[in-house]
């Protein structure tokens, strides 16, 4: 029976190692099967340098018609699962057709790779970067090996960052004025603000601030929007009276946020909203939603800005 099993076993072991693996930051990446894996983190215009090792099973040789490594940036719509749209595709040929008898390393290099989009895994869409090693064979089929990696791109602090200030209400019922100190927050930022009660004729029970993510995929009539609440943060307990002002201080760091993505490759968008929700004693909800922009700030400066 052994030979049958052997027939289905890969004829060789293929692995990808990055040149700066030891120095490069590793981040967790959630894979399709639900498990997380630590993978290296890159930024746009990084040099992706490494080695592909092909190690045949001892005693066997690998006969091939060429070996190549591709760097792919792919978007996958879950409505069209398995179908990847490559927005980036780079290829390096590693070997000419031949035979490999023992372990062989093939260095490769992609210099200053343009990777404008960040790795993202949402409800209906996924954006991933991957190195694809292909050992082309006639029969019994090519050997393909994937190596994921994550791309995150820092943004500079926006030069204009106005506060969000607004007065809303229901006539003769409830008038509030709320203020968030900024309209653009980085991922580890703190939302500071306050809610001022101008008129209260409703018996409030509590007030929450929610962070909602709106992921829209497709375009035109086939646009599909999915909203999820990532944070529910209680701001107030009990019924305020006129003139009360309730402070807001919400740290973003505990939540799994991504930067705002506007129209990524015409395929999808991810937007964030602050939703202020007031709940009265009859559990009626009154809310006001405001979009905020989230961006990724370089790590060092993030530290500096935290309280």
């Amino acid at each position: 029976m052994n030979f049958i099993i052997d027939a289905f076993k890969p004829a060789c072991h293929v692995s990808v190692t990055f040149a700066d693996a030891k120095l490069r930051k590793q981040v967790a990446l959630k894979k399709e099967n639900g498990q997380t894996e630590m993978v290296p983190l890159f930024r746009s215009q990084d040099n992706i340098i490494g080695t592909v090792s092909v190690e045949p099973v001892p005693g066997r040789k690998v006969e091939h018609k060429g070996i190549k490594v591709e760097l792919l940036g792919q978007i996958e719509m879950y409505s069209d699962r398995g179908n990847f749209y490559d927005f980036t595709s780079l290829v390096r040929e590693l070997d000419i057709p031949g035979e490999i008898y023992e372990k062989k390393d093939f260095p490769f290099e992609f210099s200053t790779v343009e990777m404008p989009y960040e790795t993202y895994s949402g409800i209906n869409v996924r954006l991933r970067y991957v190195l694809k090693v292909t050992i082309t064979r006639g029969y019994p089929g090519s050997i393909v090996q994937f190596q994921d990696f994550v791309v995150r791109n820092n943004s500079p602090s926006p030069s204009i960052n106005n506060s969000i200030k607004m007065e809303v209400g229901i006539e003769d019922c409830l008038h509030i004025e709320f203020e968030y100190n900024k309209s653009k927050y980085h991922l580890k930022d703190v939302i500071i603000g306050k809610i001022y009660f101008l008129l209260v004729r409703i018996k409030m029970k509590n007030m929450d601030l929610e962070i909602r993510r709106r992921e829209s995929t497709g375009s035109g009539t086939s646009t599909h929007v999915e909203t999820e609440t990532l944070a529910k943060y209680e701001l107030m307990d009990g019924a305020p009276v006129r003139g009360e002002s309730i402070p807001i201080r919400l740290f973003l760091s505990p939540y799994e946020l991504t930067p705002t993505y506007r129209n990524t490759n015409n395929k999808f968008s991810v937007k964030y909203y602050l939703n202020l929700v007031l709940v009265d004693e009859e559990d009626r909800r009154y809310f006001k939603q405001q979009e905020i922009t989230i961006y990724r700030l370089a790590e060092s400066s993030e530290q500096a800005e935290a309280l």
Partner: protein, 791 residues
């Protein structure tokens, strides 16, 4: 329903406790294993139990205390974590990740407390952040407890002067600001509690709020403990801010409690120096606030401050405390038109106490206060509120107690006016108090005017009121009248004329008293008059022309008229006694006719009015006794009177009484220091007659009872004593033989078969014999005389 509610609450409480303890258990495990993440997780869950709305404040407190204890452990853990190198800033952020606000804020306060201790940031910034963040809890009960927790953990960390958390500049201000803000917010929540929930549970809410009040008051206490709050800061910042909150909250419960709190927690001199500010608030309070108690407390405090030493008094003068208080009271009374009378009076009573303490020399102030009271009282319909009456009594008693002198009260023109508003029994009570006061202070009252004033004050005791109260308690009445009697004794002037005036004044008042009172009030008046008469006699020589208006005769006239007043009441015994007293006094003044007249009056009374045999016995002995002491009578008058007296004696009903009266009469005929009265014959006659009567007593006893009682033997022994007395005095008619015969007779009687031995009689007799023996042995002239008697 109610029972169910309570039961349910118990259930909820125990469920809450169970949840809290379970999470506390996991928290402890996390603490032990140094697991910060779990510690935060379980402490958050533990604190979530405090989010309940189902518990009454009382039960919630139980839960809170448990959580409080657990948080102490957590705080220690935080401290340890920090000392191991964990960043406090990070921790401060970390606890804020909690989604639910209440646990989040409890944790924040706890970490904040550690944060202040590390001194990595100025205390004032951290505290300010905490007190701001706590705004998120708008639920009154939960908010109150949270802020109370904040106050609790922060009180030893205020950036006070001298505190280790003191900052660079104006740091006390930060501490004050922090406490004030927390106080303001707590008070708002507390007041809001009143307005939430169903209307029909208003009373219950009020009760619950009352249970919570100390949480709010504690803030004021903290303020008073801050070293840096000096007088200036108190006046400029603390007080105005607190008062602003008090006025603006417009809640009667809070206003009353907080005012009281302010008065109690801050030092006296602060109150004194900020009096105007404090007082100006009073009229602005809600009408239902018990301002009077507030003001009374304030005045009481200031009073006791003033009493603490004279050195503080100038402070009072400097700020014109009295005028300010007086004005404030006026304003409050004006502002609260429907304040009950008792409130008004209480206010004035407190002001009066204050005034007496601070301005003991300003009687005009006192009178002014009383005047204000009169004005208030006059504006109202009747005074049937017994509490108010009580207060009036307290009000009126205060000056008496202070000055210990009725004179002062008499000088207050409004004093009397106020008493007018009391009802009868209260007026009596007040009169009693006044008399008691005079008695205790032992000050005599020495002018007729004052006496007049005084009697006006106590007329409740002197006169029957228009409305008769038939059920008056006899004992009480007696007690009252006795004190009036005592009072009369306190009226005294060294000036004779004035004294006469006093007597006249008293007489005028007393005579209005009616039949029931006269027997009590006339005797002291008479005695007082007689005292004056005797004094006049004693000073006869020194009396100069100007004093002639006052003569004993005049006094006796008055006295006679006074006693006459008793005639209308059937108290002849008393009148007789008084006449005899007068006679004696007249005798002292050598006014024979007057004395005779008094005796005549007494005899008339005896004959016409005294019909009771017992009373007769007493009266006759009185008459004999008095008559015996008379010096002024000439032979004729004397004879007439003694004759009558002997006659009366012999006519008494009971034989033993006759016997005793008769032998007593013997004294009328032999007076040692009176040369004219030495009639041995009559003495002997009297004694013999007494013996005869005694004999007949004995016979009667034999006849009626078949045995001679010892009663007659006693009589014999008594007569024997008279014999011995007169023998010793040297009455020639009393012979040794007669004495010996008598002794023999008594011995026989005592030995007699049918005589029952009676210890008292035996003792009396043997005592008599012993006396004789003693005199014999004494030696000297008397002894010689006695030696003649053979025993």
């Amino acid at each position: 329903m109610v029972a169910d509610g309570v039961e349910d609450e118990e259930k909820w409480l125990s469920a809450g406790m169970a949840g809290l303890q379970q999470n506390a258990f996991y928290m402890h495990r996390a603490l032990d294993s140094n697991n910060l993440k779990d510690a935060l997780k379980y402490s958050t869950q533990m604190l979530s139990e405090l989010r309940t709305s189902k518990l009454s404040p009382h039960k919630y407190y139980v839960l809170y205390m448990k959580a409080f204890d657990e948080l102490r452990k957590l705080e220690i853990f935080f401290k340890d974590t920090i000392s191991l190198g964990f960043s406090i800033v990070e921790l401060y952020e970390l606890v804020q990740h909690a989604g639910n606000i209440l646990p989040r804020l409890y944790l924040l306060c706890t970490v904040g407390s550690v944060y202040v201790k590390t001194k990595e940031a100025p205390a004032k910034d951290i505290l300010k952040d905490l007190v701001e963040m706590c705004r998120g809890i708008q639920h009154p009960l939960r908010g109150l407890f949270l802020r109370s927790y904040l106050s609790q953990v922060s009180r030893d960390k205020l950036p006070d002067i001298g505190s280790e958390y003191e900052g660079d500049a104006d740091t006390v201000m930060d501490a004050v600001e922090f406490v004030l803000q927390n106080f303001t917010e707590m008070n708002k929540l507390w007041v809001r509690m009143q307005h939430q929930g169903p209307v029909n549970e208003k009373g219950k809410r009020e009760k619950e709020r009352n249970e919570l009040r100390d949480l709010i008051g504690k803030n004021l206490h903290v303020l008073s403990q801050i070293e840096g709050v000096d007088l200036d800061m108190y006046k400029e910042v603390v007080l105005p801010r607190v008062l602003e909150q008090v006025v603006n909250c417009k809640d009667d419960l809070a206003q009353y409690y907080l005012m009281d709190c302010i008065i109690q927690v801050f030092p006296d001199e602060y109150h004194l120096q900020s009096l105007e500010t404090l007082l100006s608030v009073c009229p602005q309070l809600q009408p239902s606030v018990d301002v009077k108690t507030v003001l009374s407390r304030l005045m009481d405090r200031l009073s006791s401050y003033a009493a603490s030493g004279v050195e503080v008094l100038p402070e009072f003068f400097q700020v014109e405390a009295f005028m300010k208080l007086n004005n404030a009271i006026h304003k409050v009374i004006e502002a609260q038109a429907d304040m009950p009378m008792v409130g008004v009076i209480t206010l004035y009573a407190s002001l009066l106490t204050f005034c007496l303490q601070v301005h003991p020399d300003r009687l005009d102030y006192v009178d002014q206060i009383l005047g204000s009271c009169v004005k208030e009282l006059s504006g109202r319909e009747g005074l049937d509120d017994s509490k108010a009456a009580r207060q009036i009594i307290a009000l009126l008693s205060a000056p008496l107690e202070k000055y210990k002198d009725i004179d002062t009260a008499l000088k207050l023109s409004n004093y009397r006016c106020i008493m007018e508003y009391l009802n009868d029994s209260m007026r009596k009570e007040m009169a009693n108090i006044i008399i008691q006061n005079i008695m205790n202070n032992k000050k005599t009252i020495s002018t007729a005017d004052k006496v007049d004033g005084l009697f006006e004050l106590i007329k409740g005791l002197i006169k029957d009121s228009d409305v008769e109260t038939p059920d008056e308690l006899e004992d009480e009445f007696k007690e009252e009248q006795n004190s009036v009697a005592r009072l009369i004794q306190m009226l005294h002037s060294d000036n004779h004329e004035e004294m006469l005036n006093i007597i006249n004044t008293v007489r005028n008042h007393v005579l209005m008293g009616g039949a029931k009172r006269l027997p009590y009030t006339i005797p002291p008046l008479i005695f007082s008059s007689l005292k004056l008469a005797r004094r006049l006699e004693g000073h006869d020589q020194s009396v100069t022309g100007e004093d002639v208006s006052v003569t004993p005769k005049k006094i006796f006239q008055i006295v006679t008229q006074t006693i006459d007043a008793l005639a209308s009441i059937p108290v002849p015994g008393l009148a007789l006694g008084l006449y005899l007293q007068c006679a004696e006094a007249a005798d002292d003044c050598d006014l024979e006719p007057v004395a005779y007249e008094f005796f005549t009056q007494a005899y008339i009374l005896y004959e016409e009015e005294i019909t009771d045999s017992r009373a007769q016995v007493t009266s006759i002995h009185l008459i004999i006794g008095t008559l015996q002491r008379m010096h002024a009578f000439g032979v004729e008058n004397r004879d007439a009177l003694t004759h009558k007296a002997t006659g009366y004696s012999a006519k008494l009903l009971k034989k033993p009484d006759q016997c005793r009266a008769v032998y007593a009469c013997s004294h009328l005929f032999w007076i040692d220091d009176h040369d004219n009265v030495r009639d041995g014959e009559r003495v002997l006659f009297c004694l013999k007659r007494a013996l005869r009567i005694a004999n007949s007593v004995q016979q009667m006893a034999n006849a009626t009872r078949g045995s001679s009682g010892t009663a007659s033997v006693v009589l014999f022994v008594e007569i024997l004593n008279k014999y011995i007395y007169f023998y010793e005095k040297g009455v020639p008619q009393i012979t040794v033989e007669s004495i010996q015969d008598l002794i023999e007779l008594i011995r026989n009687e005592l030995r007699g078969d049918n005589a029952k031995s009676d210890a008292v009689t035996d003792a009396f007799f043997s005592g008599t014999l012993r006396y004789i023996q003693f005199q014999k042995d004494k030696g000297g002239a008397i002894s010689d005389k006695y030696k003649l008697i053979a025993l």
